[in-house]
């Protein structure tokens, strides 16, 4: 048996930079990736037989994307590269993997979790209708499959991705019907001092908005979504504008999302400590400035630790690898770590600005009609959650899950968890941090019934 491995989970910007730094120190890390190719979501690669150039896929980030992909290609022979491999559980003794239907446990001595993020979504009545997709999903359709989720889409939600995806769709030829932001415009002024930490990113965001306006796309802020209509697929969105007037916009698809939520299941299974982050209104694994979790040998980097975007992920990945190397007894120059910490500082401020300008619309949870589906997996409604809060007296989300299965479906609360917590907290009249967080359970994603387990 080989020595226990140093493992990096996730081959996005954080994971690739972490693996590269470990290789630089003479290690041969294992790099686990659930998808087939490297890049993560933002620098996701199209299938090998697609021909669009990087500039068409990544726009202003084409240089960064190409560099990351190129560096990975150079790295590949020096690492134990395991694509299409799901890390579905972890104990002291081993990381549980699934590849091509076979499960195995990989002994580990250090682990860098670069597991990324998924959409943070506030449900809207009717959001289970075909044609409603996460903003990230809408972008993946375009980037990785050269397809649009619809020809006349509405983009609804908040955050930088709302405008970026709307702009990418408009540029690709979609007739974007509206871009509807749940955040009121005035919050951007309040956020301006923090957003100024990254003038280039700020300017880019303003450019997308200006270009959408120039194309005649309807933009509205401070909206309240009321419901999605359609028979078998999306036909229209009803919403209330900032002045309180009811509006109805016809469309054939909706891109929906309110920022990002970190994928933290493995950190949870490893019993890392979590703390409530009042800015993101999420429970996140506790880490020091270099990415050390509260558990020895476990490090956190990228959007899976704190959603700060791809540039921060690259720096945080390298920094977490430096911390791991140092803890394993390898020499690491302090200057390198100081430089990386310095690079992350403005990104932390910028993230604060983003969360201020485009907050998670927690206020909407209390107003969702009882019949609104919150859990897509098992069609559990806002009314079910309120009943568990009141009649069944569930004080926190895990009790509510035990009573009514909210968060127990196949996605394990990835999609509904944050919204379900808000509905529960609103029904009990307590701050959301008081209803806790859904605990993770292995397998963190469904395993096929035919899985073979190694002896």
């Amino acid at each position: 048996m080989d020595r226990p491995a140093v493992i990096v989970i996730g081959a996005g910007p954080a994971g690739i930079r972490a693996a590269a730094r470990l290789v630089q120190a003479g290690l041969r890390p294992v790099l686990i990736e659930e998808g087939g190719r490297e890049g993560g979501q933002i620098y996701r690669r199209q299938p090998a037989n697609f021909t669009r150039p990087p500039a068409a896929l990544y726009g202003a980030d084409a240089g960064r994307a190409t560099r990351l992909h190129g560096d990975f290609a150079a790295l590949r022979a020096q690492i134990d590269w395991r694509p299409e491999t799901l890390a579905w559980g972890v104990t002291e003794d081993g990381l549980m993997l699934l590849r091509e239907g076979r499960a195995e446990a990989l002994p580990w001595q250090a682990m860098i979790l670069a597991t990324g993020a998924t959409e943070r979504v506030m449900p809207v009545p009717g959001w289970t209708l075909p044609g409603v997709y996460g903003l990230g999903g809408a972008q993946i359709a375009l980037k990785a499959q050269a397809a649009l989720i619809g020809q006349r889409p509405v983009f609804l939600g908040t955050g930088p991705l709302l405008y970026l995806v709307a702009w990418q769709y408009a540029k690709a030829g979609a007739d974007v019907q509206a871009v509807l932001d749940t955040s009121p415009w005035h919050l951007r002024l309040r956020a301006a001092p923090w957003l100024a930490a990254r003038p280039g990113m700020l300017a880019r965001g303003l450019r997308y908005t200006a270009d959408l306006r120039r194309r005649g796309v309807r933009l509205a802020g401070g909206v309240t979504p009321l419901g999605i209509e359609g028979e078998g697929q999306v036909a229209a969105l009803r919403w209330r504008d900032a002045a309180g007037r009811e509006q109805r916009t016809e469309c054939d698809a909706i891109g929906l999302g309110h920022g990002l939520r970190s994928e933290t299941q493995l950190a949870d299974l490893l019993q890392c400590d979590f703390a409530f982050d009042p800015v993101a209104r999420q429970w996140l694994p506790v880490r020091d400035a270099d990415g050390r979790s509260t558990r020895t040998g476990v490090y956190l980097a990228g959007d899976g630790a704190l959603a700060r975007g791809a540039d921060a992920a690259e720096a945080a990945g390298q920094l977490a690898a430096c911390a791991a190397l140092r803890d394993l007894g390898h020499p690491v120059d302090e200057l390198e770590m100081t430089t990386l910490r310095g690079r992350l500082r403005p990104m932390g401020r910028f993230r604060r600005g983003i969360e201020t300008a485009f907050p998670w619309p927690a206020r909407l949870a209390a107003g969702l009609p009882d019949e609104t589906v919150i859990c897509r997996c098992e069609s559990i409604t806002a009314g079910d959650i309120r009943a568990s809060a009141r009649a069944l007296d569930a004080p926190e989300v895990n009790r509510a899950k035990a009573f009514i299965r909210a968060g127990m479906g196949r996605c394990q609360g990835r999609v509904c968890g944050l919204a379900a917590a808000e509905v529960l907290a609103a029904a009990r009249g307590v701050p959301v941090e008081q209803v806790g967080r859904l605990r993770g359970a292995a397998p963190v994603k469904p395993l096929p019934a035919a899985t073979e387990f190694a002896e």
Partner: protein, 100 residues
């Protein structure tokens, strides 16, 4: 039945033939099952709890709302499964036979 998704390019790929619910469906090499099906249909499956049509949501393997089945009963996540020649797919669950 009209599809939800619309291709905007990359059409010069090799055709791949599938069978979905017994009906031939032509996809392109490199398509995910989700895109192959939704460029021609408006749903992937029916939800087990409310019976409503579903067509996936996250497209990145997190939401598990795009499950389809092989005729042998194996469930597949359509958003992260590439199409392959001769695949036989069902949009409703059947009894699992244990045969690949």
């Amino acid at each position: 039945m009209a599809g939800l998704f619309h291709r905007i390019g990359e059409r010069e790929r090799r055709p791949v033939r599938l069978v979905v619910d017994g009906t031939p469906l032509e996809a392109l090499e490199g398509d995910t099952l989700l895109v192959a099906i939704l460029t021609q249909r408006a749903a992937l499956r029916l939800n087990e709890f409310d019976g409503g049509p579903r067509a996936g949501f996250c497209l990145m393997g997190a939401c598990q709302d795009c499950r389809v089945w092989t005729e042998a009963g194996e469930s597949l996540r359509a958003c992260s499964t590439p199409v392959a020649e001769g695949m036989r797919i069902l949009t409703r669950e059947v009894a699992w036979t244990g045969q690949p």
